[in-house]
């Protein structure tokens, strides 16, 4: 039974609330937490709302974006410098959900949701984590794989803006819009004379968290960005994923189509 809803007005107040309130759950947009409250499946007695804690906002500087953790997906989509993310953002929920859902919250929703995390992994993004006394910077790919301590909060996500045209995204779902992922592929690939010099690939929907497809990256780096090489490299994805059965697709199906969607994301066919 919910006892308290705290609405701290700063990061410091947020940490105070988290340390003084028993069994507290953080709520940002509410798209993941409030359903559990409504269904009675919640396991917390206090809510700490980040809405007024001053953790929203986007700063674009020197070719990098620093995004407050409570910035909504709609606000991110409205930022001109982040226009490359719009096709990916529009696969997440609906405009109404995107007016509420936050970049920080999307890091911690369970798979097969959390497509933005796959994008952030491809972008090499880092998250700033605060525990009230210190802050640390953690790569998103590490952050999503291990839980935070109860007094820790992500305050900001940062990444260098990718070279124009280098960010690719594809998502397979059950419906054309407003669906969780069967497979999500996000990638940033840099080529030099048609040969892959750098690549980062983030996958969603195919493991307990969004994951980096390191095996595929290793197999592709130094190869030409053509269909044969990409298909060969994409086969290595089996080493990077650990898909599960759910109501969207079976583990077998996800494993089977991941290499196909990697190819489609990288070369558009």
């Amino acid at each position: 039974m919910l006892h308290t809803v705290a609405t701290p007005g700063s990061l410091a107040e947020t940490h105070t609330a988290l340390s003084t309130l028993g069994s507290a759950r953080i709520i940002a947009g509410g798209t993941a937490v409030t359903p559990t409250l409504n269904a009675g499946t919640d396991d917390f007695t206090s809510l700490v709302s980040l809405r007024r804690a001053g953790l929203s906002g986007i700063a674009i500087k020197d070719g990098s974006a620093a995004i407050g953790a409570v910035t909504t997906l709609a606000e991110i989509g409205d930022e001109p410098a982040l226009g490359f993310l719009v096709p990916a953002l529009e696969t997440i929920g609906s405009p109404t959900i995107r007016n509420m859902a936050t970049i920080g919250g999307n890091l911690f929703v369970r798979q097969p949701y959390g497509d933005l995390a796959a994008c952030l992994i491809a972008l090499g993004a880092t998250a700033t984590v605060s525990d009230g006394t210190t802050t640390r910077i953690e790569p998103v790919e590490k952050l999503v794989a291990s839980p935070l301590k109860s007094n820790e909060i992500v305050t900001q996500v940062s990444f260098a803006l990718p070279a124009e045209g280098s960010f690719k995204f594809t998502k397979a779902g059950r419906k054309a819009m407003n669906t969780a992922a069967i497979v999500t592929v996000a990638s940033v690939v840099i080529t030099s004379d048609g040969v892959v010099s750098q690549c980062r690939i983030g996958l969603g929907g195919v493991a307990r968290s969004a994951v980096r497809a390191r095996s595929v990256e290793q197999a592709l780096t130094g190869r030409p960005l053509d269909r044969a090489s990409v298909e060969e490299a994409a086969k290595q994805a089996a080493h990077d994923i650990d898909p599960a059965d759910d109501s969207y697709a079976s583990a077998w199906y996800r494993g089977r189509v991941t290499p196909v969607h990697i190819r489609r994301a990288l070369i558009g066919e």
Binding site: M1, L2, H3, T4, V5, T7, I27, G29, G30, T31, T34, P35, L37, N38, A39, L47, S49, R51, A74, E90, G93, S94, P95, T96, I97, N99, M100, M177, N178
Partner: protein
């Protein structure tokens, strides 16, 4: 359980409500304010029947604990309806047979209002995207999409007529 006093401006009127912890906006609108136009379809944010405008943006009222939006401005279907006659969006839905049982309709109309506020000249794709969070079991969506575009045309025409 200690209740809190929350202030909201609902359809232009300032209201103060006494709420138990975790009371959501849809609870306040329907049970406290008697504004039953907003529908409770799933309580999960999946169906969109509860769509309202909060500080000018479409949001799921079933997902908003009111204590987290103290001081917000809320617009519901009742607020969209003029004192006499119908709003152009309502006219478009009615005349386009874009409503059958009517349960999804207030949510669809509020989603449309949110779209047309930002984009008075939407494409068909824009209209589909705008209602992608709203489920309808009756119509098959085509008449609704047509009504969204028709509503946009009506509102643009009214604006031109007013300017003239």
């Amino acid at each position: 359980m200690k209740h809190s006093v929350i202030s909201l401006t609902i359809n232009g009127a300032e209201r103060q409500v006494l709420v138990a912890p975790g009371t959501t906006l849809i609870d306040v609108l329907r049970d406290n304010q008697g504004l039953s136009g907003t529908r409770r379809g799933c309580d999960q944010g999946a169906c969109g029947a509860c769509t309202v405008l909060v500080d000018g943006k479409t949001m799921m009222s079933c997902l908003l604990p009111v204590e987290t939006i103290d001081g917000a401005t809320v617009g519901t279907i009742e607020g969209l309806t003029p004192m006499e006659g119908l709003h152009p969006i309502q006219e478009a839905f009615l005349e386009g047979f874009a409503t059958q049982c009517g349960f999804c309709t207030p949510g669809m109309i509020m989603a449309t209002a949110g779209l047309l506020d930002k984009n008075p000249n939407p494409t068909r794709d824009d209209a589909v995207r705008a209602i992608s969070g709203n489920i309808c079991r009756c119509t098959g969506y085509e008449s609704i999409i047509d009504a969204v575009l028709d509503a946009a045309a009506r509102m643009r025409a009214a604006k031109r007529a007013k300017a003239a």
